[in-house]
Amino acid sequence: MKHLLSVTDLDAAAATALLDTADRLKQALLGREVRKLPTLRGRTVITMFYEDSTRTRVSFEVAGKWMSADTVNVSAKGSSVGKGESLRDTALTLAAMGADCVIVRHPASGAAHRLAAWADRDRAATGTDTCIVNAGDGTHEHPTQALLDAATLRDRLGSVAGRRIGIVGDVLHSRVARSNVFLLATLGADVVLVAPPTLLPVGVQQWPCRISHEIDAELSTLDAVMTLRVQAERMRGAFFPSAREYAIGYGLSDERAAALPQHAVVLHPGPMVRGMEIAPSVADSARSAILAQVRNGVHVRMAVLYHLLAGAPE
């Protein structure tokens, strides 16, 4: 694995190896007074975020620091063209400064793919073999989110294979949904997407999952339900009539949570819109794994950096 751009870069064995490494790192850090491993000492990891993010950026930074990498955060708000330096120039500049890894979040789908192509093409000029990690590109993918979700499901359910996972909400605009559908399918889960037709992309029928418009028909068979953020800032209108109608049709209310099997887990990639997508009492309930997702995020990102920069352990 040279870069992590999409979950389709990972087959089941590679994804499982990452999750296993994350587990081992979690165990290694457990109960330590100084949460620091020497693994990436002397390596430079740069986060380059073109969108607001708290949890993902901090999670990567903490992951790097716990592995003793030198971490630098670049906040590059705004799009590249017409507002100064191009994405390519920025990326190559960071590579030339010796960045072993650039972790990028960008509003354009495919931005991480482009960075990887430039980094590889201009390797001789930058003098650094820079690997790229996609931390969310437009409405395309967010691979480490899907990995941390898989890690959380494995913790809570014992396995991902054979489990039925419902993903509810704005699939159309969600990079989390895309990464999860394809990663969970690779790991053998049975995925069902639940959304009104306006929030499902054309062609979704060809994804490795089932489609439903009726959340109440699905709840009793789910091992886990993941509610997606309804991304109001991406809406261009008329996707659904009102927040009220959305909450009535698709919100994870107390009544709906009660219809889930006893063992079922509730996930949310955050940030949550409490009340609309998910009732506060459900988000804070015992079946909620939302904070476990955040904890696992650090370990999964440590594993990703470890596999990319130090090589996957045999």
Binding site: S80, S109, G110, R114, T139, H140, V202
Partner: protein
């Protein structure tokens, strides 16, 4: 100007003849012809002779976009691609919406002298879709504008489109529509379908094209005006056009080489060299385009030659400008897409690349048969040649070709404009 003798050429791929050209017209066709002293000769044994190509849709970028293309470099690309006339779209800076700008473009084209450059005038002031540009003044100017378009943008307002068609009908000019309902394509980045969904690129639904074409055909019917549809990309649009033509509506349509050959499967690399508007669609669409071109529902191949300097293309997908080079690869792509599979013969190539485009725009000196007394606007082709596309080696300033590294069949050997060789063996012959 010395005479030109083309020996052993096969007009439309038929039996070899000699063609003698003098004073810019075809003087004699026969065998064993001899040229006068000082005449240029061109040995065309095994080569196909066609009427010079006419491109209804190019972007020469001048004025305002000279970092990507100029009228001179675009003319060189046209000559090398076998073209003797091109129609330059008005989305320049300033926009070609007055006689001042169209006359400038026309004059620069004539000064370069490699290809007849016909400026296309804007339909609306500033391409803004709200106020009709002075179509009459542009039509009557020295540039003699024959085609008007807001290309790059759709004339979305149905009332403005109706008025443009009505007004144009009295001028004997054609309105060329970039058919895209902008309400349906806000933010669109790729063909709405399986590939775009997986890649997280906002979809450009085919219905945004079909609905405008259907609407405009009804408007053309009511106004008895001539409508031309730019760069048809969707199989469904073919059905709309077929019905409109059957009903006697004066509508013509073009398809680009890239919509004949390329599909959205190329988008998975996110390399914006594949970004174009309308977007690359599916294999079913390219198949429908090829068949409709052979059938004549689609009238012409037009390149939509759209140079963009590297800084506008070598970016993330969303930031990249749409468009790709077309002039120097058009013939080869058409050969690969339609001639080799047996959908078009050389008469068919002449029809879609020369005769029909000249008819649609009322050009009397292009698209003519290869016959004595006709203007000597000709293209000589090696049908058996293969070549590898290199963007950097092309005449355009920009190098944004989606065919980079591809091996394509068929090559333009020479281009003749009114008896003068403008390009030969890959080299431009400046006068």
């Amino acid at each position: 100007m010395p005479d030109l003798l083309i020996r052993n050429a096969r007009p439309y791929g038929e039996d070899a003849v000699d063609v003698l050209i003098g004073n810019g017209v075809i003087a004699e066709i026969g065998s064993g012809l001899t040229a006068s002293d000082g005449a240029e000769t061109l040995d065309a044994a095994g080569l196909v002779l066609l009427p010079g190509f006419v491109d209804l849709h190019v972007h020469l970028r001048e004025p305002g976009g000279e970092e990507s293309e100029t009228i001179e470099t675009g003319s060189r690309a046209a000559a090398l691609g076998g073209f003797t006339a091109v129609f330059a779209m008005p989305n320049t800076n300033p926009v070609a919406d007055t006689e001042v700008v169209v006359e400038h473009v026309h004059r620069r084209g004539a000064e370069v002298g490699l290809v007849d450059v016909h400026p296309v005038g804007a339909v609306t002031v500033g391409l803004e879709g709200t106020k009709l540009a002075e179509l009459g003044s542009m039509a009557r100017s020295r540039a003699q504008v024959r085609m008007f378009s807001d290309d790059g943008r759709c004339v979305n307002d149905p009332l403005i489109m109706r008025r443009a068609l009505e007004y144009a009908s009295a001028l004997g000019v054609v309105i060329a529509q970039h058919a895209e309902d902008h309400r349906l394509t806000a933010g669109a980045q790729a063909h709405e379908g399986v590939v775009a969904s997986r890649l997280g690129l906002a979809g450009w639904p085919a219905a945004a094209e079909e609905t405008i074409v259907a609407r405009d055909c009804a408007l053309a019917r009511d106004t008895d005006a001539a409508l031309h549809v730019c760069h048809v990309s969707s199989a469904h649009t073919i059905e709309v056009l077929r019905a409109a033509k059957a009903a006697g509506i004066r509508v013509s349509a073009e398809v680009t080489p890239h919509h004949l050959l390329l599909t959205d499967a190329a988008l998975t690399s996110y390399d914006p060299v594949h970004k174009v508007n309308p977007p690359l669609r599916t294999a079913a669409d390219t198949k429908a385009m090829r068949e409709a071109l052979a059938e004549g529902v689609l009238d012409v191949v037009a390149t939509d030659h759209a140079p963009h300097a590297a800084q506008y293309k070598d970016t993330e997908w969303a930031a990249a400008r749409p468009g790709m080079l077309g002039l120097q690869t058009a013939l080869s792509v058409l050969v690969a897409a339609c001639v080799e599979p047996g959908l078009l013969d050389w008469h068919g190539v002449a029809r879609v690349l020369s005769q029909r485009p000249a008819e649609i725009t009322g050009l009397s000196d292009h698209g003519r048969p290869i016959a004595v007394g006709e203007p000597a606007n000709l293209t000589v082709i090696d049908p058996d040649a293969q070549w590898t596309v290199r963007g950097a080696a092309m005449a355009s300033i920009a190098a944004n070709t989606p065919y980079e590294g591809m091996r394509l069949p068929g090559r333009v050997v020479a281009t003749v404009l009114r008896g003068r060789v403008t390009a030969r063996d890959g080299k431009v012959h400046q006068s």
